[in-house]
């Protein structure tokens, strides 16, 4: 079962961190269709976070069609996310590395870069997405 974690102070809302972790696990094949996600109470208690945060994350996953709640049973993975082919991932990684190099060259530090990436990710709406 997926092990969630939450980092505060990153500027990324905790519920989105949970959503991203599920998406990440789906891309890596660590979660598959039919897998049960931990209950809201399990996550709230283990991570010591607000259960509303977990509920909001699960609602967002349902909205994206990635998970579905079954009354009295829990929340289950509904759809998987196809991972990219390795070569395509490597291409994107190269582009990211060169962007990182220019950010460092411009004088940004790791925290500043992480904050900028987090903000951009949060605000970016790819064409055609809802």
């Amino acid at each position: 079962m997926i092990e969630f974690r939450v980092e505060t102070g990153s500027g990324v809302p905790p519920y989105l961190q949970l959503v991203h972790q599920v998406e990440h696990a789906l891309r890596l094949g660590q979660l598959r269709v039919g897998d049960r996600l931990p209950t809201v109470k399990e996550v709230a208690k283990r991570l010591v976070i607000n259960p509303n945060t977990v509920l909001k994350a699960y609602r967002e996953l349902e909205h994206k069609g990635l998970a579905k709640g079954r009354p009295g049973q829990g929340t289950f993975v509904e759809r998987e996310l196809a991972g990219l082919p390795v070569e395509r991932q490597a291409e994107l990684r190269t582009a990211l590395d060169s962007w990182l190099a220019s950010a460092y060259q411009a004088g940004m530090d790791a925290d500043g870069i992480a904050a900028m990436v987090a903000t951009a990710l949060h605000e970016f709406r790819p064409e055609g997405s809802t």
Binding site: G9, G11, N50
Partner: protein
């Protein structure tokens, strides 16, 4: 359950000549976990005392869970735990529970017994012999046995070590997952509220400086950083500047409103909860202290 847990309208409390709380208007939707923050003397405890009926407002109106606060109304659905987790130290744990049973019309003793069993706290222990963390757990178990719709905790973990803090908050968060209720936590450590709370109330000098759902507040603010020399020409658009802070030849502006358009000389980023609170408190200090950089409020 009613939709609004706390509705305060121009609530004020005066002690002698001093207003401990003034013009406090709040609306907290039911089911939220509310972080009540502010420096010492901001009015947090005064507000909490009004919420739990330990004190009466000088001005204004207060409705809890859809009912006007008064004797035998609303307050039987509200539970309160103070900073010291006050319990009779000579009582054994089962005597604490017996007192709860005799004093409360709503009482579900098995909830408390199960919770304490899970925490390995024997019912025969004397309260005075328990660790601080265990005493806090007994106080929380007794409060939760009333199955409150509104649970109010004044600095619940201030006196506890980190492990006991974590355990107590885990108990609270699990209890909230079991049975939906509204929780209000006061603290002056903002960083520990970020994972616990989804609604924020910032008090300072007896006044509400900021209130709302945390995700909305974080979405609705940006920190603009750029050259101090052109601070008055910062690309704030229609945003309200909450507070500005100068560091060397750079200036940072916390703005509220729609994110301004990109300007190459200026960098806009999201803020975290702690930064947001600090800027609001600093802005309040500027205006009340007659500082050199008056913040634009209102």
């Amino acid at each position: 359950m009613t939709e609004t847990a706390i509705a305060a309208t121009r609530l004020g409390k005066r002690y002698g000549q001093k207003w401990a709380l003034r013009d406090c208007t709040l609306r907290v939707p039911a089911g939220r976990v509310v972080g009540l923050v502010g420096p010492n003397g901001a009015g947090k405890s005064t507000l909490m005392n009004l919420l739990v009926g330990l004190d009466r407002p000088t001005t204004g109106e207060l409705d809890l869970l859809g009912e006007r606060v008064g004797p035998n109304r609303a307050l039987d659905r509200v539970a309160y735990i103070d900073q010291e987790h006050t319990l009779y130290r000579n009582f054994r744990v089962h005597e604490v529970l017996k007192a709860g049973r005799l004093l409360n019309p709503r009482w579900h003793e098995q909830d408390a017994v199960d919770r304490l069993h899970e925490l390995n706290i024997p019912l025969t222990s004397k309260v005075g012999r328990l660790s601080g963390g265990q005493r806090a757990q007994v106080a929380v178990a007794a409060a939760l046995a009333r199955r409150p719709d509104l649970l109010i905790l004044d600095e619940p973990v201030a006196s506890l070590d980190p492990v006991a803090r974590r355990d107590l908050m885990a108990t609270l968060m699990a209890a909230k997952a079991d049975r939906d209720c509204t929780i209000v936590l006061s603290s002056h450590v903002v960083s520990e509220l970020e994972r616990l709370c989804d609604h924020l109330v910032v008090l300072d000098h007896g006044e509400v400086r900021l209130a709302g759902d945390i995700d909305d507040l974080l979405d609705g603010h940006r920190l603009l950083t750029g050259p101090a020399a052109t601070a008055d020409r910062a690309p704030v658009g229609t945003c309200r500047v909450v507070h500005q802070e100068r560091a060397g030849d750079q200036v940072s502006l916390l703005v509220r409103g729609a994110p301004p358009a990109a300007d190459p000389a200026w960098h806009a980023r999201r803020v975290n909860l702690e930064e947001l609170v600090m800027h609001y408190l600093a802005s309040a200090a500027d205006t009340t202290g007659g500082g050199k950089h008056p913040a634009v409020l209102g």
